[in-house]
């Protein structure tokens, strides 16, 4: 049974990014009684963004657990449940609040299998990212704190298809997986999804656009910005290859290197702040693995090294956009 039958989406085959995630949760709960949800306001209210809407009604109080405002307890309890064979999906109401349970994630969950051979199959998901004027505490991209933590997996999808397929893979994975849902995409992108069960593998990037002149690597909302920029650049005769990372940990080094070897130029675009962003790591990978293939410097377009500002002109200044990507790509193309 598909959740679309209980929602307005039934009229259209087009499914939003948000609905795709909800379908994945619904179908996994339907498939496997060890899958449970835990978080704040996820049951009766259906979650701040309604990603878990309808789950309580169908699966009941034992499987959709509304908790006190206690991120540490949410993740701790999820890990404890996973030790008995459950597969809990924990919601952070906004991903910014993941800072409150940093210790449970990085010290308890991430090290569990390495230290004493205890897999902790939990998923931690939540709305992330800016562009919606949420201010410093409702707009962040904290993925790199966790991408720096061995033992975790970090997923940051850009399309509805991937969001659904990767969520299913995350739930079925035996490791703690962080699943970032860019809230700008929730209701802005739609696509038709295949009928029936499918998964998207964790740790595999996807080439979204073929090109020969330079490679743009991106993920999440910035993938769409990068694709728009590639469109503009194509009209100027610069053919960009656009790679969607989809997973940040483990990183798909093979696809990255393959594209750079093909185009010889690399631009990395991410919404995360600049210092310590994934761009630096990718630049190092390319220098180690394809240095003699580079015809220009590895460049990056990122957010500023500041907190996410609230006022619209400030936030626009802070975030990357199509113009910034186009300008950087033009510079790079000159080499």
């Amino acid at each position: 049974m598909s959740p679309t039958k209980t929602t307005a989406a039934v009229e259209s085959k087009q499914v939003t990014f948000l609905e795709a995630i909800r379908q994945a949760l619904f179908e996994e709960m339907e498939r496997d009684p060890t899958v449970v949800m835990i978080g704040e306001d996820i049951g009766v209210y259906g979650g701040a963004f309604k990603v878990t809407a309808g789950l309580l009604e169908r699966f009941g109080w034992e499987r959709v657990i509304d908790t006190p405002i206690s991120e540490t307890a949410i993740i701790g309890a999820a890990v404890g449940m996973s030790y008995l064979g459950l597969r809990p999906v924990a919601e952070m109401q906004f991903i910014d609040f993941i800072a409150c349970c940093f210790n449970q994630l990085t010290n308890f969950a991430a090290k569990s299998h390495y230290r004493w051979g205890a897999p902790a199959p939990i998923v931690v998901r939540g709305p992330s990212g800016g562009g919606i004027h949420g201010g410093p505490f409702h707009s962040q991209n904290p993925e790199m704190y966790f991408t720096h933590t061995p033992g975790l997996k970090v997923i940051y999808p850009a399309t509805a298809y991937d969001a659904k397929g990767l969520m299913k893979s995350a739930i079925r994975d035996n490791n703690p997986v962080l699943f970032f849902e860019h809230k700008f995409l929730y209701r802005r992108i739609k696509e038709e999804l295949p009928e029936g069960d499918y998964t998207v593998p964790i740790g595999k990037a996807s080439v979204r656009r073929e090109g020969r002149d330079l490679t743009i690597i991106s993920y999440a909302a910035m993938l769409h910005t990068s694709l728009e920029a590639a469109e503009t650049l194509a009209r100027e005769g610069i053919e960009c290859e656009v790679v969607d990372l989809r997973t940040l940990l483990p990183l798909d080094k093979e696809t990255i290197l393959k594209s750079v070897v093909k185009t010889n130029k690399l631009l990395i675009v991410h919404e995360d702040t600049r210092t310590g962003g994934i761009a630096g790591e990718i630049a190092a990978i390319v220098c180690e693995g394809a240095f003699d293939q580079l015809d220009g410097p590895v460049m990056r377009v990122t957010s500023l090294d500041t907190p996410v500002p609230y006022s619209p002109p400030l936030e626009e200044q802070f975030l990357p956009n199509t113009e910034k990507v186009v300008a950087a790509a033009r510079d790079l193309a000159k080499y």
């Binding site: 657990i65 006190p68 307890a73 701790g76 309890a77 459950l86 004493w116 035996n174």
Partner: protein, 427 residues
């Protein structure tokens, strides 16, 4: 006998009394051997002991059933032994050997066993086990396993945020979870009085509206008996319980720490209350053993430790290339839930509910919560810190501190109004 009412002993058989002694003696002698290994530079990192706290570790762990779950802290070697781990496991953990339970990936008591012994490994950050074991308790209930989960925390660890979040969630979920606060007087170098403005840490339970008990932690039978009651209460579905065991850390925080900050008189006071010596006296006075039986157990412990240590010392250090293995579970472990109830109960259509809260409406007559019926605080436990206080052994060994907080408001007696609908789930 000082400190032990007759009812305490009623549930234990003679062999079980001797078991308790065996584990306490094993706990202590094992740690003596570890001190020797430390002096020989065979312990790779720090060494943490539980001298003086063996009664608490052993008595609490012994009160659980084989399917129950524990998560020991650094001073709960006794609990690990009760749970069936061998001394070699602990020796090898400290010596970082390849055959240790973590194969050299971690040390000390940082190991566990999901499948057989149901032991969750601790981490060094205090308090984190409380929400984790709450989750274990919740999952056990969900699967219909009727288990109880238990962990320990020191006096210092009760000040962490994870303690509060975990206890609050456990209380809200009515999770079958027992928390043992091992109040050993000192958080590293800081006395309890400088950490918490409370005389009894059991009073923390009041904040969560749950039951608490206070026990003389150096009285193993009292510890066992109190824990047994707490565990039974949990298993009956009455929600979590906090037990405060008053005890004393008889050495420094770790082997490197001479504990010069502890007044000598305090050590002297607690030395007289040594849990192993007190229990030896108890067994003799109650004619539960004779000198021969006593010697037999001591000899057995010595023999076993010698054999176990030899096995441990013969284990190699891990091969260096193992460092990069095991970060992820890539199918090396099978994850399986053990269902003790029909899965259909948690699947549609049976699982489906009306997604509506049941809340008390002011003015219904239900709003005022009933006062707790059993609010009497009964404790003759001596002051935790001496200064002329009586020996804990002279009072009753174990007392219920209070039925903390008030009982949950009764379910609405009036017919369902428009604004309230019965909530079928757990609250």
């Amino acid at each position: 006998m000082n400190g032990y009412g007759e009812r305490m002993a009623s549930s234990l058989k003679r062999e079980q009394f001797l078991d308790l002694y065996y584990y306490m003696r094993l706990n202590r002698s094992l740690e003596d051997r570890l001190v020797n290994l430390f002096r020989q530079n065979k312990v790779v990192g720090g060494l943490y002991g539980s001298l003086g706290q063996e009664g608490t570790s052993v008595g609490t762990a012994y009160a659980l059933g084989p399917n129950d779950w524990i998560a020991p802290m650094i001073r709960n070697v006794g609990a690990l032994l009760v749970r069936g781990f061998k001394p070699r496991d602990i020796f090898m953990q400290y010596m970082a050997r390849y055959d240790s339970p973590t194969q050299g990936k971690d040390g000390t008591s940082h190991f566990g066993d999901l499948k057989v012994r149901h032991v969750v490994s601790p981490i060094s950050m205090l308090g984190d086990l409380i929400p984790v074991m709450t989750g274990v308790a919740m999952a056990g209930r969900y699967l219909g396993q009727k288990i109880v989960a238990m962990t320990w925390i020191g006096d210092g660890g009760t000040s962490t945020g994870a303690f509060h979040e975990g206890m609050n969630l456990a209380a809200q979920q009515k999770a079958p979870f027992v928390l043992v606060i091992e109040n050993n007087g000192w958080a590293y170098s800081t006395p309890v009085s400088r950490q918490v403005p409370l005389k009894d840490l059991a009073d923390r339970a009041k904040a969560y509206g749950i039951d608490s008990m206070i026990v003389d932690g150096n009285d193993v039978v009292a510890v066992y008996d109190t824990t047994r009651r707490a565990v039974e209460q949990c298993r009956a579905g009455d929600g979590p319980v906090i037990i405060e065991a008053k005890t004393m850390r008889m050495r420094g925080h770790a082997q490197h720490d001479p504990a010069e900050y502890v007044p000598r008189e305090m050590f002297a006071y607690w030395k007289k209350l040594d849990p192993v010596e007190r229990y030896e006296k108890y067994l003799t006075e109650n004619k539960l053993w004779d000198e021969k039986a006593h010697k037999q157990i001591d000899d057995r412990v010595d023999r076993e430790l010698t054999e176990e240590l030899e096995i441990a010392e013969n284990s190699p250090l891990p091969p260096a290339e193992e460092a990069s293995t095991g970060v992820y579970c890539e199918g090396c472990h099978e994850i399986e839930a053990i269902w003790k109830r029909p899965k259909s109960e948690v699947m549609p259509p049976k699982s489906s509910v009306a997604p509506v809260w049941s809340v008390a409406i002011p003015g219904d007559g239900d709003g005022a919560q009933s006062k707790s019926a059993s609010s009497a605080v009964v404790t003759t436990m001596a002051e935790h810190f001496p200064a002329g206080a009586k020996s804990p052994g002279n009072g009753a060994g174990t007392k219920t501190a209070s039925k903390s907080g008030s009982k949950p408001a009764p379910k609405s007696a009036r017919p369902a109004a428009k604004k309230t609908m019965a909530r079928k789930g757990r609250g």
